[in-house]
C-alpha cells in the first residue's frame, strides 16, 4: 500500500536531547503506534514502518525544528484533523519532545535529507566574551578559509568549511559565555556548530547548541522551512476519523 505522506515537525529539549538520532527514530515508531496512527509498513521478510527522518541532530543538541515524513493509511489520513494529530502525538511522546506541526506533502517531493540546504543554530560557547567573539567571527567571515579537522571513514581530513558558513552573528554575553546565531549549510556535508567554534581563532568551546530552523533554498534563492509552525495547514478534510 502506498500511504499518504505526512510531514511532521517537532522539538527536542531537556534531558531527552541526550538521545541519539537512532533513539529518536525508535521513539517515534513507538509514539505513532501509541497514538494509533496507522503507519504503512514495508513489505518483505521483516516489515518496517515507512518513516523517513531528516537531518540527524547531534546527540546533546536541542532543537525547535526536527522533521520526519511518515507514510500513513490514506483513508485514515483523509479524515484526520491536523491539530488533533499534533496533540495526540505530543501526548504520546516523551517529556521534552513536542509535535509542532503536521501537513501532507506530495509523494513526488524530494526527501527531507535532499531538500534541506541549511540550518539556523543558536550556539552558546565558552572561551571568549562578546567583543572577543565578534572579532574572531569577523576575521573568519572576512577570510576565504576556515579549516577543521574531521574524521571520515576512520581517516583524518582537513576541510575548508568557510563556503558552508552562510552567516554568523554574535548576540551578546550570557552568564557562562557568549551566544551566537549562525546559519550553516547542510550540503554537501553538514557543518556542526562545534566545528564552527573549533575553526575560529582563537577557538571557542561549545556549551549548548539549539537548532532553530531548517531551510530549503530553491535554485532561485528563495528560502522556506519544510513546515512553518505558525501556519498550520490542514491534512485532509478536517473530519474526525
Amino acid at each position: 500500500m502506498t500511504g499518504s505522506r505526512i510531514r511532521l515537525r517537532f522539538s527536542k529539549h531537556g534531558k531527552v536531547r541526550f538521545t541519539s538520532h537512532r533513539d529518536v527514530a525508535r521513539i517515534w515508531e513507538r509514539s505513532l503506534r501509541r497514538a494509533a496512527v496507522p503507519v504503512v509498513y514495508s513489505a518483505g521478510f521483516s516489515p518496517r514502518p515507512r518513516i523517513a527522518f531528516g537531518l540527524a541532530l547531534p546527540t546533546g543538541y536541542s532543537s525547535d525544528a526536527e522533521y520526519l515524513d511518515a507514510e500513513i493509511d490514506p483513508a485514515w489520513a483523509a479524515g484526520i484533523d491536523n491539530e488533533r494529530l499534533v496533540g495526540a502525538l505530543t501526548a504520546s511522546l516523551p517529556t521534552g519532545m513536542t509535535a509542532l506541526a503536521a501537513a501532507e506533502v506530495a509523494s513526488g517531493e524530494p526527501s527531507l535529507q535532499h531538500a534541506v540546504t541549511s540550518c539556523t543554530w543558536r550556539i552558546d560557547a565558552a572561551g571568549a566574551d562578546a567583543t572577543e567573539a565578534s572579532d574572531a567571527v569577523s576575521r573568519a567571515m572576512d577570510g576565504s578559509e576556515l579549516l577543521v579537522e574531521r574524521e571520515r571513514k576512520g581517516r583524518l581530513t582537513i576541510d575548508n568549511i568557510r563556503p558552508a558558513v552562510h552567516a554568523v552573528e554574535v548576540q551578546g554575553n550570557i552568564t557562562d559565555g557568549v551566544r551566537l546565531i549562525a546559519e550553516l549549510a547542510t550540503q554537501p556535508r553538514a557543518v556542526r556548530p562545534a566545528e564552527l567554534l573549533a575553526s575560529l581563532r582563537p577557538p571557542l568551546s561549545l556549551l549548548r547548541a539549539r537548532r532553530l530552523h531548517q531551510w530549503i533554498t530553491t535554485d532561485a534563492g528563495e528560502r522556506s522551512e519544510p513546515l512553518t509552525v505558525s501556519e498550520l495547514s490542514v491534512v485532509g478534510a478536517g473530519v474526525e476519523p
Partner: protein, 650 residues
C-alpha cells in the same frame, strides 16, 4: 534540591551513550521522599542497557512505589568514561529517576543476576560513598542489600552486604520496608546493628554479620547464628499465586536502545522439568502459571501503552504454558495492537509444535532458539533434559516447514561424565538439522552456541568439579575442527576463561570475598564484558589472597562436607539433591512432577504451597520429558526420514 542533574549535565556531552543516564522513561514513577518514608535505590550492577529490562527490578520498583511508606528509584553502573568524570568531580552514584545522590537513600539494593557483576557491586557501593566492607560502615550509611538468583549463595559477598533476600521479592520488600519504617520512627534503636538484628528475623532475609563462620583448616566447618533469635537456616520466599502480582503494570519504556527492547510478560514462574544443571529451575519451584486471561490483559494493555510491536512471553520454558497456542493466537489476532510479533525466548523442543510455529510466524518472524543442551541422549539423561533426538528434529522440521530458515541451538560443554563422543555429537545434531532444512529451503542455517558449564548451588551438580579452562577450550576446539567444513552450521562460543571466575564466585565461601575485592581494587570492573575480562587478574588475586582455585572450582565435593550455602534453603532437601546427583551419574532421568506424582523435593511440601497449573496433562507433541514417543493427538506427525540420521538415538 537534592538532584545532581545540574552537575551531571555538563559531563554528559563528554561520555558515550549519554541517554543511559537521563532516566525520563515512560513508566517512570516520581517518588515522594519524606519523613516516614523508606527510600530504596534499586541498583543493577551493570550498564543501563543490560539492567533496565530486568523484570525483577521493575516489579519491586512498582510494588515499593505503590506503598505509602516507601519510595524507590533506580541506578545502574556508570560506564568507565562517566565513572572517571564522576570521581574527578566528586559526584556520587545517583538515581536516574530524580538524579538523587545514592548516599541519601535508606537502602541500596542490588539485583544479583550474574556472579561476574560482583566486582561492579563493590564499585557501585564505593561510588555511593559507602565503605565496601559492611563492618566499616557508619550508622548513617545506607543499608546495602541484595536479591536475585545469586543470593542463594551470597557468601562471597557476605563481607560487603548488610542483608540478602532469598527467593521472590514481591512480599519480602514490603516486610523489610515495614521493619525499617518502624525502626526509623522509633528513633533508630540499637543503631545499624539493631535494625540488622530485626531484619534477620524477617523470613527470607539473611544478615551475614549475624552468623559466625568457622573453618577446619582449608575446609569450611560451620556457619552458625550468633544469637538465639537469628534463624539457623534462612528459608527462601515464594509467592504462592502469580495472579496476585500482575507486575510490572507499567513496564518502563527506555528512550535508548537496551537488550530485550520489547514488552515482557511473565507467563509463569518456576519450572519442574528438573534439568540438573539449571539453578533457576531448582530454586524457583513450584510452577506457578499466570491465568491466561491475565496474560491476555497484560499483553493487550502493555502493547497499547508502550507502543512496542514485540512481546515476549517469558518463563523458564514458555512452550509448557497451558494453552500457549491460544494465548499466542489471541495476541497476534488482537487488531488493536497492529503488527505484533511474539517471541518465546525459552522453548523446549519436545513441546514446540507446528501449531505454535504457525502462530508465531503470522506476525513478523522472530528468531528461533532451541536448547538441546547436550549432543547425545545419554548425556541428556545425565542432565535430565529428557528430549530425544526425534524431539529436536521434529521441532526443527516444524520450524522449517513454517518458513524459518535460520535457528539457533544452545549447548553446554563440560557436563558431568561428558566424553568427546558426547561433545562431537553436538556437531552431528547440527549437521542433521541443516540436512532437514534443505528439504524446505535452499540455504538453511543453524547457529550452534556453546557455553562452558558452571555448577551452581542448590542443583544436583553442586558437588561436581567444574572442567578446567584448558579442558573447556579443548572441547570447543574439537567442535570447531569438526564443523570447519560443515555448510550451513555456524559455531559460536565464549572463551571459557570467564567460567573460572564465575565458578569461583558461584560456589565460593566468605574467603572468596577477598579475591573479589582484590580484582575490583585492581581495576576489574564490568567482568561480564569480554573486553574487560582478564583471567590473569583473577588468578593473581586468588594467589595474593591465598585462595586455592582448584579446591573451590575443579574439585568434586563430597556429601559429608559443609557447603557454603548449607545455612540457606531453597526448600530442596539436600538428600533429594544428592539422590538426583547419583541418578545423574547412573544416567537415570526423572520426569516432570507437574504431571506425575510428587518426589518430595521439598520446594512445595516445606512451604505448604503447590503447583498452579491450568492443565493437568502435558502439552501435546514430542516426548514431553519421558523420552518415549507419546501420542501426538491432533498434532501433525513428524515426517519419517528416509534414512536414519547418524547419531539419532531412539
Amino acid at each position: 534540591m537534592s538532584s545532581l542533574w545540574h552537575r551531571l549535565e555538563p559531563l554528559l556531552p563528554q561520555v558515550s551513550k549519554p541517554a543511559r543516564y537521563i532516566g525520563a522513561e515512560d513508566g517512570m514513577r516520581v517518588p515522594r521522599h519524606g519523613p516516614g518514608v523508606v527510600s530504596w535505590l534499586l541498583t543493577y550492577p551493570d550498564t543501563y542497557e543490560i539492567g533496565l529490562p530486568n523484570q525483577g527490578l521493575q516489579i519491586l520498583y512498582e510494588i515499593l512505589n505503590e506503598r505509602p511508606d516507601a519510595a524507590a528509584e533506580r541506578a545502574y553502573a556508570p560506564w568507565g568514561d562517566l565513572e572517571a568524570l564522576m570521581r574527578a568531580e566528586g559526584l556520587p552514584l545517583f538515581s536516574l529517576d530524580t538524579h538523587r545522590p545514592a548516599p541519601l537513600f535508606d537502602v541500596i539494593a542490588f539485583n544479583l543476576s550474574a556472579e561476574l557483576t560482583y566486582t561492579n557491586v563493590l564499585n557501585c557501593i564505593d561510588l555511593a560513598g559507602v565503605a565496601v566492607r559492611a563492618a566499616s560502615r557508619h550508622d548513617s550509611d545506607p543499608l546495602i542489600g541484595a536479591g536475585g538468583h545469586c543470593t542463594y549463595n551470597p557468601e562471597p559477598l557476605a563481607d560487603f552486604l548488610d542483608f540478602a533476600v532469598l527467593g521472590d521479592g514481591e512480599e519480602a520488600v514490603g516486610d523489610i520496608t515495614a521493619v525499617l519504617a518502624d525502626w526509623k520512627a522509633s528513633g533508630r534503636p540499637g543503631g545499624r546493628n539493631g535494625v540488622l538484628r530485626a531484619l534477620a528475623r524477617v523470613p527470607g532475609v539473611y544478615v551475614p554479620s549475624m552468623y559466625e563462620v568457622t573453618y577446619d583448616g582449608a575446609r569450611l566447618a560451620a556457619v552458625e547464628p550468633r544469637y538465639p533469635d537469628v534463624p539457623a537456616v534462612v528459608e527462601k520466599r515464594t509467592v504462592a499465586d502469580l495472579a496476585d502480582w500482575p507486575y510490572p503494570k507499567q513496564q518502563l519504556v527506555p528512550l535508548t536502545e537496551v537488550v530485550h527492547d520489547r514488552l515482557n510478560v511473565e507467563v509463569f514462574r518456576g519450572c519442574t522439568r528438573g534439568c540438573r544443571f539449571c539453578q533457576a529451575g531448582m530454586i524457583t519451584r513450584p510452577v506457578r502459571e499466570r491465568p491466561a486471561e491475565q496474560v491476555r490483559t497484560m499483553v493487550g494493555e502493555g502493547l497499547r501503552r508502550t507502543g512496542y510491536d514485540e512481546v515476549a512471553l517469558t518463563s523458564l520454558s514458555t512452550a509448557d504454558f497451558s494453552g500457549i497456542e491460544r494465548v499466542v493466537a489471541d495476541t497476534v489476532n488482537d487488531a488493536g495492537c497492529g503488527q505484533v510479533s511474539v517471541s518465546l525466548p525459552s522453548l523446549r523442543v519436545d513441546a514446540f509444535t507446528v501449531g505454535i510455529a504457525a502462530q508465531i510466524q503470522r506476525a513478523r518472524r522472530t528468531g528461533l532458539t532451541f536448547a538441546p543442551e547436550a549432543g547425545t541422549w545419554r548425556m541428556r539423561q545425565v542432565i535430565n533434559k529428557l528430549i530425544t533426538n526425534d524431539d529436536l528434529y521434529s521441532a526443527v522440521e516444524s520450524a522449517y516447514s513454517q518458513g524459518w530458515r535460520r535457528m539457533k541451538l544452545y549447548f553446554l560443554t563440560g557436563l558431568p561424565t561428558e566424553t568427546d563422543a558426547d561433545t562431537l555429537a553436538i556437531a552431528e545434531l547440527a549437521r542433521n538439522c541443516v540436512a532437514l532444512g534443505r528439504t524446505h529451503t535452499r540455504s538453511p542455517s543453524v547457529t550452534v552456541s556453546v557455553g562452558g558449564f558452571v555448577p551452581k548451588p542448590f542443583t544436583p551438580f553442586q558437588w561436581f568439579g567444574q572442567n578446567t579452562v584448558v579442558e573447556l577450550r579443548r572441547k570447543v576446539g574439537l567442535l570447531r575442527d569438526d564443523l570447519r567444513r560443515a555448510r550451513g552450521v555456524q559455531l559460536k562460543w565464549h572463551d571459557p576463561a570467564a567460567s573460572l571466575a564465575e565458578g569461583l564466585a558461584s560456589r565460593g565461601d566468605r574467603r572468596v570475598g577477598r579475591v573479589i575485592e582484590h580484582v575490583w581494587r585492581h581495576g576489574g570492573t564490568f567482568q561480564e564484558w569480554s573486553e574487560h575480562f582478564d583471567l590473569n587478574r583473577w588468578q593473581s588475586a586468588a594467589e595474593a589472597c591465598g585462595v586455592d582455585i582448584d579446591a573451590y572450582v575443579h574439585r568434586h565435593r563430597t556429601f559429608d562436607e559443609v557447603l557454603p550455602w548449607d545455612h540457606l534453603s531453597a526448600g530442596l532437601h539436600k538428600d533429594f539433591l544428592w539422590q538426583d546427583w547419583r541418578d545423574a551419574l547412573n544416567e537415570v532421568g526423572l520426569e516432570d512432577c507437574r504431571w506425575t506424582p510428587c518426589y518430595d523435593c521439598g520446594a512445595c511440601t516445606g512451604y505448604g504451597i503447590e503447583h498452579v497449573v491450568a492443565s493437568a496433562v502435558p502439552p501435546a507433541g514430542g516426548s514431553q520429558g519421558t523420552g518415549v514417543d507419546l501420542s501426538r493427538g491432533a498434532e501433525i506427525p513428524v515426517r519419517l526420514l528416509e534414512r536414519p540420521l547418524v547419531g539419532a538415538a531412539r
